[in-house]
Amino acid sequence: MKRVYVNEEWCLGCHLCEYNCAFANSGMKDMATALKGKPIFPRIHIEGDEKISYAVSCRHCTDPICVKSCIAGAIARVDGVVTIDQNKCVGCLTCVLVCPYGALSPGESGVMQKCELCLKNSCGEPACVKGCPNRAIVYEERGEEW
């Protein structure tokens, strides 16, 4: 299965991935209308210190603790992709309490959101990868599957 991976040596810390993510999931056609002057709620974020930076998004773990911990039965792993049913989520944040990578956060409505590899939105492939100016985020097959 293809996943999103990060080359931290190449990340410039420009935060473009955050904007591309928020836009891809906004459902809008124009980036300026979607994002200008508004707080954004991306499903990927830049972390790091003065030396390095890198993008953090869901790792789509093979045995995800968020799925096992969700008190609303709203998170599931379907064909390798960890997805959330926002209609079932009540925003209790238990997934935030258990995710070891800090990959889930609440959206504007208070319901949780996470990277679903842009498979549910019109982008069709990860917008963060497509828009990364330095190929610091890639979408590819690595490692074994079960």
Partner: protein, 420 residues
Amino acid sequence: MVRQPMKEYVVIGNGVAAAGCIEGIRSMDSTSGITVVSEEKHAVYCRPLISYYLEHKTDLERMHYRSDDYYDKMGCKVLYGKKAVKVDDLLKKVVLDDGTVLPYTSVCIATGSSPFIPPFPGLETVKNRFSFMTIDDTLALEAAAGQESNVLIVGAGLIGLKCAEGLRDRVGSITVCDLADRVLSSILDAECAAMMQAHLEANGIQLMLGDTPARFEKNTAVMKSGRTVDFDVLVLAVGVRANTALVKEIGGEVNRGIIVNDRMETTVSGIYAAGDCTEGNDISCGQKRVLALLPNAYMQGKCAGVNMAGGNDVFDKAIPMNSIGFFGLHAMTAGSYYGKEQGGECYEEKTDKKLKRLFTKDGFLTGFILIGETERAGIYTSLIRERTPLDTINFELLKQLPTSAAFLTENRRKIFGGVI
């Protein structure tokens, strides 16, 4: 998958631990029969969502834990409205209250817990009294509580206060009393509890702490302090007791819960247990504890199921943990808090609206309390769960901010560049 001789699995209980058990069994054995004994006449549902139901944040349909065709897909037979009254470990049979006998190869006890009702004098004179544990409790409470109702909730723990939050916009007034001198006494220390208390009071919940009913006279509670509280609806949320009888009766080891090892085996051969009815290892303090939390219930159940079907799984990472919010203020807690006298240290950050306490001991993070700011708290939780030695990470950075930037480069590269 290896073909195995047919087995008969019985799961007693139909909550989240049972679902974990079913899924654990089916990950190993796709053909043998599974019979689920469900006292409640409902398919598995998300029990912690009952307060969100009252708040209109979910509904009965969305509260289903699994899809409508779940039991069919899993090849399970569910016996609704039936109660297991005896497990015969010698003849390997479960006996139900209607006389039905279910033979088993292995059985999982996932009977959960029941509300503890203290013997308050005069309680029988109260007409509108409820517990708050099940969908049926919730629907009955909903029917009784009207816009003008004055509600008294006995118990300022997780259940009582979530009930108060769920009811607030539906009723006239809510008073919550507790014998403890603070709210959420099982998970918050005094200062953190005071912060949450102020927030609850600012949101219209009246609290009477250090006080509890001495007796009831119809719609009046006479408190230990001598004060009286008039109410229309009474909710008893004093505490819960693990349902341990089935194992206790046959001589299995039981303390406050059914004792299980890391494989979820009870001390009786062929009998497993999972969920709120058990007492397993809490690795944050190295002791056996009842950890009545949905994530642990699922993980225990899954582990039990795998082992029942001949696999070899352990669940040895259980810790207490809670994510709980009231009226927009969120608290997260995990692990054990050791004071100075016990050799622990505490790192603290505090403002009017936010509070962070990280508890460390012997070079490990053992627990935390976060109020108001909870982003990426799971990074802290995983340090407790994985018992990560703090000298292998940049803990000074982590104290201020939960971030994987504090991990060793090679570990971080594995996380963000590999399959995990």
